[in-house]
């Protein structure tokens, strides 16, 4: 481990807008776990080894965990479905991101 590792979620997963997504990271040394800071452009900032983040709109976001000058991050792809469901039928009806290109 190089200062900090994200244990979950995996990089590049699909998440559903309106649902909490659990993020977990560990610092090296472990005594610094509580100093881990989480930041993202669309889901705000939090602190601690385990946090929940939630998005509201379709889009792409990067979540970065950092501690003591070390950082690592994961990308998430968000889709906003009509009912908050995550089946293929739900995703098929997702709202496009605001400001997308034709």
């Amino acid at each position: 481990m190089n200062g900090i590792d994200i244990l979950q979620p995996r990089d590049g997963i699909l998440v559903i807008a309106g649902r909490d997504v659990a993020f977990e990271a560990h610092a090296n040394p472990p005594e610094r776990d509580n100093d881990i800071r989480w930041s993202s452009k669309r889901a705000g900032a939090k602190r601690g080894p385990v946090v929940s983040l939630r998005w509201q709109q379709t889009g792409v976001d990067r979540v970065v965990a950092s501690v003591g000058g070390h950082e690592c991050g994961v990308t998430v792809y968000i889709v906003k479905t009509p009912t908050g469901g995550s089946t293929l039928s739900d995703v098929l009806q997702s709202e496009p991101p605001i400001g997308g290109s034709a």
Binding site: R10, G12, L14, V79, P97, G100
Partner: protein, 167 residues
Amino acid sequence: MSTIDPTPIETAARDALSQFAQALLQTCAAAGAGAFIAAGAAEVARAVAQKADLGFAHDLAGAVVADVDRDGIDLGPDNSVHVATNLAKFAQGDRSVSPIQSVSVQHTLALPLPAISGNYGEIAPSGSLNLQVTFAAKAGGDGTTTTIAAKISFAVDYSAPEITLPN
């Protein structure tokens, strides 16, 4: 440079192909494939619809987008349902794509057609019915609209074993 005279090989291949084609045509004409399709259509349609439902009910939360967009998703006990996606492009704002590109169902049929035989041995038919539902997005003044197209294809296949030709 090859020293093999191709003429006997071509002749043998042509003869085998000709005999195979004649036997196939005679078999299909005698068996009445149309009657089979009419009798089994409802059952086949129900089976294909159930497989399609399996695809549409699949949960995508937590899927790794790059993997799914590249490889698609194969579902069902025999992987007969294939889903193709454009999740990354859609989330990135490309309004020319739908997040789901297509759902394809392949259904293998038990055909009551007789086997055909000749000097290539006896060959039983295999049949398949394929359903492909494709989703396309189009951005316009009022937002993005999704169009849906469905294509059904039915295929009967008689495949002869490899024949060793004289050289």
